[in-house]
């Protein structure tokens, strides 16, 4: 990529429909036409994917040539004269559309993907297609509903392969492909599997977003109305530290679908399963009212006033030294400021993070332009991280860089993942002696733009040794190439929160046990597990039993809220405002998408209510 930008681009000029247009050598006719505001109909073309030239909607005439050419796949030539809308082209496009309509079930009354969402319908309207001259084939094609979040209805497929190219070029897993020939052409999942049984599909849903018809569809969005009728709200995903931009489609105070924000500098429209589906298409038991534990030990709904009065009473009965606060590593920067404001009233405040994450957060270092560096890298070394599981968009970037740009991939001291199969060197358990390091040095030799992605397990003794060795390899590298470090935590805002002075706790058990507590306030916020993960830590369940007043401020019911004396309902990602800071150090905004559910309040507002 870098080398490409070094080459000076050569300007060309051509005439499209009589209009003088300028472009650069190497651009296609379609790109130049679009840049000059000239519309050419397309179906299989999608900005950001390689051109396919399959649908033949974008055909144009070039003066002096008897042929029509697909403008999406034809490089523009200096001085050429292009015609995009002659009667001949219109007739050819109409015939193409009629053939598309005749092949499978493209009958709009039966399809929820009409009224502005469907590219095929739109082209039918534009070209004034009222009926077709060909025989309808009515093939009996299967519908795959085995996927957790989306379905594939072959009857509505026009074989534009946008899903195939998206899966291959954006997510990088190449789950989808095309099988058979001619009339038997079919989009397939892996080698003729179903989505539910696919070993490679990451459920990122990029294929659904790229489908121009209703062939690939979100199950949760089906029959909630066309996306074109929805309001679109841009916000930020808070499921991991990548901080992807979200474009949320809302109708009647319900989320209809979540797409990536194409203008986000972070994810540029791509999302992983967490951001795209898990936050809204999974059933979770929401807490919408404050709750107090009654004499029989049962949680009973109560009012905010009573709940706050109960906390204040408990706080009054306790010394400052007997009060502590645990913060989930996903609250906003603004909430962090509010927490700091009341820090004087509480003995100790700590952030509970994932195992081995504390060391990564407590020396917070942001990796500026990490995703761009990954894209430009010619060698990527992953140590102690599991991007496929924790940071799907980072994994997608690694896959595409390795598969499409030929970068080397080394996976060291990490759990098994789907990245392993693309790796030049893959050692889950690293031995510090032997041939492994010769091989590592051999693969990395001559690397011009090496990138080191290190995760939680890089902070373990073995991980740290591996890191040291790698750094030494590059020190000894005669080329002296600088190794770019990318620290990849798993918790969404842990770096910024630690930077704001809310230190991550290494072991919660000893932290709780340091001094006897009377009041423990846990801000679980909208963690999908309701904060229940801390119960898995050593001795934590029994220690919580000993604290007279455990307040849990959470959005979802969990084993942790079942242990609380007082439960306060917190807003979730799509009701929040504020900012989070991603692992690149970008400050990203959250915007409320839906009205607040029930009596839930924002984390900071709750703290103001309780401690002010």
């Amino acid at each position: 990529m870098r080398s490409e930008t070094m080459i000076a681009t050569k300007k060309i000029s051509l005439t499209i429909n009589g209009k003088a247009c300028n472009g650069e050598l190497g651009q296609t006719i379609l790109e130049i036409a679009r840049a000059n505001g000239i519309y050419i109909p397309t179906l299989c073309y999608l900005d950001g994917l390689t051109a396919w030239g399959g649908c033949r909607m974008c055909i144009v005439e070039i003066e002096g040539s008897p042929k029509v050419v697909p403008s999406c796949a034809t490089p523009a030539v200096n001085g050429s004269k292009i015609i995009t809308n002659s009667p001949r082209l219109q007739d050819l496009r109409k015939a193409t559309l009629e053939l598309l309509f005749s092949e499978r079930n493209h009958i709009c009354p039966m399809c929820p993907y009409n009224k502005g969402d469907c590219g095929l319908q739109h082209q039918g309207y534009l070209h004034g297609i009222t009926g077709i001259r060909y025989q309808y084939l009515y093939p009996a094609l299967p519908v795959d509903l085995t996927g957790r979040y989306f379905g594939l209805d072959h009857n509505r497929c026009i074989l534009c392969t946008r899903c195939v190219r998206t899966c291959d070029e954006i997510e990088g897993v190449h789950t989808l492909d095309v099988a058979n020939r001619g009339i038997k052409n079919l989009i397939i999942v892996d080698m003729l599997k179903k989505f539910g049984a696919s070993e490679t599909c990451t459920s990122c849903g990029a294929c659904v977003a790229s489908c121009p018809t209703g062939a690939l569809f979100d199950k949760a969005a089906a029959f909630r109305g066309p996306l074109a009728s929805c309001q679109q709200v841009l916000t930020t995903c808070t499921e991991c530290p990548v901080g992807c931009g979200l474009k949320v489609f809302v109708k009647e105070d319900r989320i209809v679908s979540v797409w990536g924000d194409p203008d986000s500098p972070v994810n540029r429209g791509h999302l992983c399963v967490k951001g795209r589906y898990e936050t809204w298409a999974e059933p979770r038991e929401r807490i919408t009212q404050p709750m107090l534990r009654d004499k029989n030990g049962k949680l009973q709904p109560t009012t905010w006033d009573k709940a706050i009065a109960a906390i204040r009473k408990a706080a009054k009965d306790a010394q400052k030294a007997e009060m502590a606060m645990l913060v989930a590593p996903r609250v906003t920067n603004e909430t962090a400021q509010t927490i700091k404001k009341f820090a004087g009233k509480i003995d100790r405040i700590g952030m509970y993070v994932a195992a081995n994450e504390a060391a990564l957060c407590n020396k917070p270092s942001f990796s500026a332009d990490a995703l761009r560096n990954l894209e430009d890298a010619d060698a990527i070394i992953v140590v102690g991280a599991q991007p496929s599981r924790d940071n799907g968009v980072v994994a997608a970037r690694i896959r595409t860089t390795v598969r499409k740009r030929g970068a080397k991939l080394l996976i060291l001291h990490a759990h098994k993942s789907d990245l392993d199969k693309y790796a030049n060197v893959c050692a889950h358990a690293v031995s510090l002696e032997g041939k492994l390091w010769d091989r590592v040095a051999e693969v990395l030799e001559g690397a011009q733009r090496p990138v080191l992605v290190y995760g939680l397990d890089a902070t373990t003794p073995v991980g740290m040794t591996v890191m040291e060795r790698l750094i030494r390899i590059f020190e000894n590298n005669p080329g002296g190439q600088k190794l770019v470090h990318i620290g990849l935590p798993v918790s969404s805002n842990s770096l910024a929160l630690a930077g704001a002075g809310i230190g991550a706790i290494e072991n919660i058990g000893p932290w709780l046990d340091a001094k006897p507590l009377k009041l423990l306030h846990i801000i679980a916020s909208d963690a999908p597990d309701g904060g229940a993960r801390i119960l898995e830590e050593e001795r934590v369940p029994e220690l919580l039993e000993q604290i007279p007043c455990v307040v849990v401020q959470a959005s979802y019911r969990s084993a942790l809220t079942e242990k609380a004396a007082i439960v306060l309902p917190a807003t979730i990602w799509c009701e929040k405002s504020g900012t989070i800071t991603n692992f690149e150090g970008r400050k990203l905004s959250l915007r409320p998408v839906l009205p607040v559910s029930g009596e839930a309040r924002e984390d900071a507002a709750i703290l103001e209510n309780v401690f002010a």
């Binding site: 309509f101 009958i107 709009c108 009354p109 039966m110 009409n114 009224k115 319908q121 739109h122 039918g124 309207y125 534009l126 004034g128 297609i129 009222t130 009926g131 077709i132 001259r133 025989q135 309808y136 009515y138 093939p139 009996a140």
Partner: protein, 199 residues
Amino acid sequence: MNKTRKTTKKSASVSTAKAPAKVRVATMWLSGCSGCHMSFLDLDERLVDLFKLIDILFSPIVDTKVKDMPQVDVGIVEGCVNNTDQEHELKMLRDRCKILIALGDCAITGNIPALRNQFPLKDCLARAYEQAESNRISCIPNDPVVPGLCPKARPLQEVVKVDFSIPGCPPDADVIWYVLTELLAGRTPQWNEKNLRYD
């Protein structure tokens, strides 16, 4: 309406020399839900203006029953061809009209009735008459009086030549009005993304 129609017809036949002859129209309801005819009736008060220009001589929504289909200028057909009787009627209409208009998605694409085309006819009949939970007497109708189902439900253009199509499920009354008035004015209706709807 029936009365008015009769009188106008009479007056039309009497005074052909004075006023221009009305356009003679037949409408037909094949395999469809009658929604397109309902949409036609949604022309509401515009029907009064329309009937100054056309005469409906044969239709499921007029009261006069004629034994033999008359010669007409325009035939308007809702629904697709599902059985042998419908095929016979449609071919007859095509013979006796100058312009044939397919009204609505069933007539143009087969739409809902054509969903059965994905399955063999035998299976469709068995599902409806033998396996259906509500059907206590398992018997596929075999009386020769009942018209036999065609192997496939077909849109009109696969059986006869169609001159114009008005898509929609059902087509909007405004669209029907636009097409009919354009044709009556001797113009070809122009379609674009503003007036075209498939659903």
